[in-house]
Symmetry: C2
Subunit: 218 residues, 2 copies
């Protein structure tokens, strides 16, 4: 395989760029044709590389998928944290709505769902990515606590409510397969927000903010 971390400068950044491009192509491919039809050939072509080059950077398809999953998870966490700093004074409603629009109801999230779904039956892939998935869950929990506080002051409530929100939104993404009424989806989103927003408020202080975007290659 490659030595993206240890190699000297010029080659290292070149390798990183290549791997990033390949992972991005994999994400686009997962979204476009699904996990089953995401083939090394397609990914290589979409990334502008030969199949051999792809195999040089990722020894096996599982390596590719795992790296792509990492990239998606990292993006997901980065997406909530960065945008948050800017829009500090938005309402809980708007913040939740933004989670749906910018994080869940996206092509990238659907690509991630392809991998998550594939990992259910593929135990090798499952164990391969499970650590990062768990870490992802913890990062989202932490972010929830950093962003919101419960009106009753219990941090566990914040975590639970936001976990439920994500589950609900995840399920809505799949619902689109058997409900052509797109308007209905946003109604459900609004209704859910109406139910949980009163239980939350935006957290003002950023005392115990932590940086949970870990360092990794792809």
């Amino acid at each position: 395989m490659n030595n993206a971390e240890t190699a000297p400068n010029k080659q290292r950044i070149k390798s990183q760029r290549a791997q990033a491009a390949i992972c991005d192509a994999a994400i686009a491919c997962l979204y476009a044709v699904g996990y089953g039809d995401t083939t090394l050939n397609k990914v290589a072509t979409m990334a502008g590389f030969s199949k051999g080059a792809l195999q040089h950077h990722f020894a096996s398809k599982e390596d590719l998928i795992a790296a792509t999953a990492d990239r998606l998870l990292q993006r997901s966490v980065a997406g909530v944290t960065t945008t948050k700093a800017q829009q500090r004074f938005e309402s809980v409603d708007a913040s939740l709505r933004r989670s749906w629009e910018k994080l869940i109801n996206t092509a990238a999230y659907r690509a991630l769902l392809e991998i998550l779904n594939a990992a259910r039956a593929d135990k090798a892939l499952q164990t391969r990515i499970s650590d990062n998935l768990l870490q992802w869950g913890r990062a989202l929990d932490q972010n929830a606590i950093d962003t919101y506080e419960a009106v009753d002051g219990n941090d566990e409530d914040v975590k639970a409510l936001m976990n439920m929100t994500r589950s609900f939104m995840r399920g809505l993404v799949i619902q689109e397969r058997y409900t052509n009424d797109a308007d209905e989806t946003s109604k459900h989103i609004e209704r859910w927000i109406d139910m949980i927003a009163p239980q939350l408020r935006m957290r003002e202080s950023d005392e115990n903010r932590t940086d949970y975007v870990k360092h990794q290659k792809c």
Copy 2:
């Protein structure tokens, strides 16, 4: 292809039995290895038939999947209606909990999710099953209205709340990939029920009950 509907009696029931067995094998296969690795050979073997026999009953893989999807959808609807009649006097809480345990958190539902997910990127399959999916949604809506009534008396609320409940539960099924704490899942279920149940009560009269289990081959 076959003539399961028009063929004479003895052959007809034989054909129906065979198709049912094949679809059941496909369901088991979808659950065990996922959509991508559900192959005609595996399904045929699991069903106790040769590949040729399978192809006799289902001319293409898409036919097989479509028939399997129909079977799953029908089962899903049947699952809510039949059990309902017996347990007429259970609480809303118990009824919702039972939906999770007997309908969503099951192998069959995971098999269905495999097909639903595959249909996202596979437009041919998508259009193939979309009519039945829409009908499924309507049947579930109708069943929701038959089973519950809103405390504010608005039937549309019942539909919306139950749609949201199903979305939430669907999302929870996927969550299991990155939360090993099974206990947390049931806590979320309970919390969801706590939020939804107060808005519903069991409907007493069965005035406008309809039978929406349509007749079909597999």
